[in-house]
């Protein structure tokens, strides 16, 4: 019922049965394609074969090249990653060597220490070629607590 509502019977009502009493005229024609000689067919086949072979070779070569290049990229990427990691680890070692917690004891052991006297000196800049302003030196001493 549902389908009948969707497709009204009028659609089917006007369909006519096929007529069987009509004979269609059939006039056979000559084949317009004339067959080539055998040697031409052979040449054509060999040519097609060569073309196919060349195409396949080109395809295989390209595929191989893509594969090889892809492998090279994968290798280079792995190498890049390895170098990145190595560089990171070297930078970490470099940073650790520069850390103040390590440098201070080594500096102390080498005889360095906080300044006990600071002297401030004013040096006038050069005023033109060949003339130097008289040096004015300001002196101050700071005692460490």
């Amino acid at each position: 019922m549902f389908i009948a509502r969707l497709f009204p019977a009028a659609i089917f009502r006007h369909r006519r049965p096929l007529r069987t009493d009509v004979v269609l005229p059939f006039v056979p024609r000559t084949n317009p394609i004339r067959p080539h000689p055998v040697w031409q067919q052979a040449v054509l086949s060999i040519g097609l074969l060569i073309l196919l072979t060349v195409s396949l070779c080109v395809y295989v070569y390209q595929a191989a090249q893509i594969n090889v290049t892809g492998q090279e990229i994968v290798g280079l990427r792995a190498e890049y990653g390895r170098l990145q990691r190595e560089n990171s680890n070297l930078l970490a070692i470099y940073a650790a060597e520069q850390s103040l917690a390590r440098m201070e004891p080594r500096a102390s052991a080498a005889g360095f220490g906080p300044a006990t006297e600071v002297r401030y000196v004013t040096v006038f800049p050069t005023e033109g070629v060949g003339t130097v302003a008289p040096p004015a030196v300001t002196f101050h001493t700071k005692q460490q607590p």
Binding site: M1, S88, L91, S99, L100, A101, T122, F124, P145
Partner: protein
């Protein structure tokens, strides 16, 4: 729809044929069913249309909401989630960017460890594999072979982590039954230095606390093999950033801080010594620049080593006390009261007050620290002697409206906006609210009954040093993201007092410092104020211990550094002048030495000649 058709039919789908017998119940329907059925067609069609319309509206609402949440507000909502969702989505092989200080020294960077696993099930010769692998793992070959034999059916046997050399050697073996997977690990080359500022990265590769927590999403790379850096040293120099081999990192999502590791180191050392000397339970030191509130150092104790973040006595060690812990500032807060009163013209440095032994306001008795009256005093003397009674009188003269306006202008009770995780906003009671009483005006005026963070307090003092302009404190100097460098400029928030008021108050603060024994440094004018605060309890205040602090800046005439030190519950003395002030002095001496700041007279001579200008540029 012929005779006997029932009104139940709708649209004809269930229309009964005339020949079918009617059910007994329906056969008894009254006559006129045909007419009734025809009448019911229209309302039912309308109902159907209404239902369809309702469904369409519902669908439309769903679609609109979908677009709203997935497209319009997606970024905001994702940011609001703070990366808390999707735990499983974080990849442990993604590296993070580097964090360097203002001179380009790394404070946090990535290194690699190699996770070694084996598949004993697939091994052809376990003995040979054990012989090859054991030296690289630092194990005995026999023990390793036994381990393989014990897990002969296992396709996955974790063997722990090894260093780069052993890891790469294992990878070079190209054995599919033994793998060494490189995994990034966060490394803090300075150890405990600035641990609270940096935070740490946990095993799940998420950042917690500090900058690691605040910039967690920014620092994390999206791919294990980012593209090579495109920024050059020239680009960094053009942006005013230090040229260092650590920048840009190959992740190219890096942070350059205002923090100076030398200052941080000295400050932490001084804090540790002060904690040991005073036997305080904890402490904090912050060093800012006045013009811009750039954070040069931020130290808290107890601290932790972010390289071994699980090795702590208590999770409290993770907490950055400079921004996350609130305290009653005590007499340091008098600076705000005096600033507001000077700015409004309520007082001048020479305004005289009658300092009595006790001052009663709002049924609250106010006493001085020595429980004595000081007679007729000037405002300058009252500040230098830290007199509560006079300060309360000034607050009353100023009025609650102006006082709390000033408190709000100076940024108390609100987040400073510093780029660190877990910042607290402080606690300020305002008039008109149920918890506020009139007596709060006078107690708040000398820093009692009001809670602030150390960063809020030092930033307010920095506003006085910068001639009245309050800046947003910031610790990040620049962000490097791929080929873009974003420099963080100082961000002025508002003018809290006039430049004239700032200069007047600075002169008063200098006199305050000069009255404290052993604090002044010959040749250098220092502006500052001490604060000794009682510790609030639910039932009152703790008598036994205090929180001592000292805030100030120098050189007073052209400030370069603003400093706040705070010690919790020192045992040797309960007064700031004997505990916090010496620590403040030591920090000032360290800064003078590190930045080669000449004495005021020398500096002024040099500046007058235009030859030398002290600068914070490394």
């Amino acid at each position: 729809m012929n005779g006997g058709g029932v009104g139940r039919s709708t649209g004809g789908f269930y229309r009964l044929r005339a020949a079918e017998p009617l059910p007994a119940a329906e056969a008894t329907l009254p006559a006129g069913g045909e007419a009734w059925s025809a009448r019911s067609e229209a309302p039912k069609a309308i109902r159907l249309q209404m239902v369809l319309a309702g469904l369409m509206i519902f669908g439309l609402v769903l679609a609109v909401q979908l677009v709203r949440y997935q497209v319009v507000a997606a970024r905001r909502l994702a940011a609001g989630a703070g990366g808390r969702v999707g735990n499983a989505a974080i990849r442990v092989d993604l590296p993070r960017g580097t964090i360097v200080d203002r001179r380009g020294h790394p404070l946090a960077l990535e290194t690699y460890a190699y996770r070694v696993t084996a598949s004993p099930r697939d091994m052809v010769d376990r003995q040979a594999a054990a012989l090859h692998l054991a030296p690289l793992l630092g194990l005995d070959a026999g023990t390793l072979a036994q381990q393989f034999a014990a897990h002969a059916d296992s396709p996955y046997l974790p063997l722990g982590f090894v260093g780069p050399a052993a890891g790469e050697a294992i990878r070079a073996m190209r054995q599919y039954t033994i793998t060494a997977e490189p995994l990034p690990r966060r490394y803090y080359p300075e150890g405990r230095l600035a641990a609270h500022v940096l935070g740490f990265v946990a095993a799940d590769r998420r950042g917690y606390y500090g900058l690691e927590g605040y910039y967690d999403t920014f620092l994390r790379a999206n791919t294990p093999y980012p593209v090579p850096p495109t920024l050059t040293e020239t680009d960094l120099a053009a942006a005013g950033l230090p040229q260092t081999p650590f920048l840009p990192s190959y992740v190219q999502q890096d942070l350059v801080l205002n923090l100076d590791r030398h200052v941080q180191y000295r400050v932490e050392k001084a804090l540790r010594q002060a904690i040991a000397t005073t036997q305080a339970e904890s402490g904090t030191v912050i060093v800012l620049t006045p013009h811009g509130s750039a954070i040069l150092a931020m130290a808290s104790w107890p601290d932790f080593d972010p390289n071994r973040y699980t090795d702590i006595p208590s999770p409290d060690a993770y907490v950055n006390q400079a921004i996350s812990i609130i305290y009653e500032p005590g007499s340091v807060f008098k600076l705000i009261t005096y600033a507001a009163a000077l700015d409004k013209g309520v007082i001048t440095p020479d305004t005289r007050f009658q300092d009595t032994r006790v001052f009663v306001y709002g049924e609250k008795e106010i006493y001085n620290w020595d429980r004595e009256g000081h007679g007729t005093v000037t405002a300058t003397y009252a500040l230098a002697e830290s007199l509560n009674v006079t300060t309360a009188q000034i607050a009353v003269a100023l009025g609650r409206t102006e006082f709390y306006k000033a408190v709000q202008r100076f940024g108390f009770g609100q987040l400073t906006g510093v780029e660190l995780a877990n910042e607290a906003s402080g606690l300020v009671k305002y008039p008109g609210r149920s918890a506020w009483y009139p007596a709060d005006l006078v107690t708040n005026s000398f820093g009692q009954g009001i809670s602030v963070t150390p960063l809020q307090m030092v930033n307010a003092v920095a506003a006085i040093a910068s001639e009245g302009v309050l800046y947003r404190p910031h610790i990040v100097r620049a962000l490097i993201q791929q080929d873009r460098i974003t420099t963080i400029e100082p961000q002025p928030l508002n003018r809290v007092i006039t430049p004239a008021t700032a200069r007047t108050l600075t002169a008063m603060m200098v006199q305050t410092v000069e009255r404290i024994p052993d604090l002044p440094i010959p040749g250098y004018a220092i502006a500052g104020k001490s604060g000794t605060a009682e510790i609030p309890l639910p039932s009152g205040y703790l008598d036994e211990y205090t929180i001592t602090s000292f805030a100030g800046f120098f050189p007073a005439d052209a400030p370069l550094f603003v400093i706040l030190v705070k010690l919790d519950r020192p045992k040797t003395s309960k007064w700031a002048t004997y505990t916090a002030a010496p620590l403040f002095r030591q920090v000032v001496l360290d800064l003078i030495e590190l930045y080669a700041i000449p004495p005021d007279r020398v500096r002024q001579q040099l500046q007058a000649g235009g030859h030398v200008r002290p600068s914070l540029t490394p």
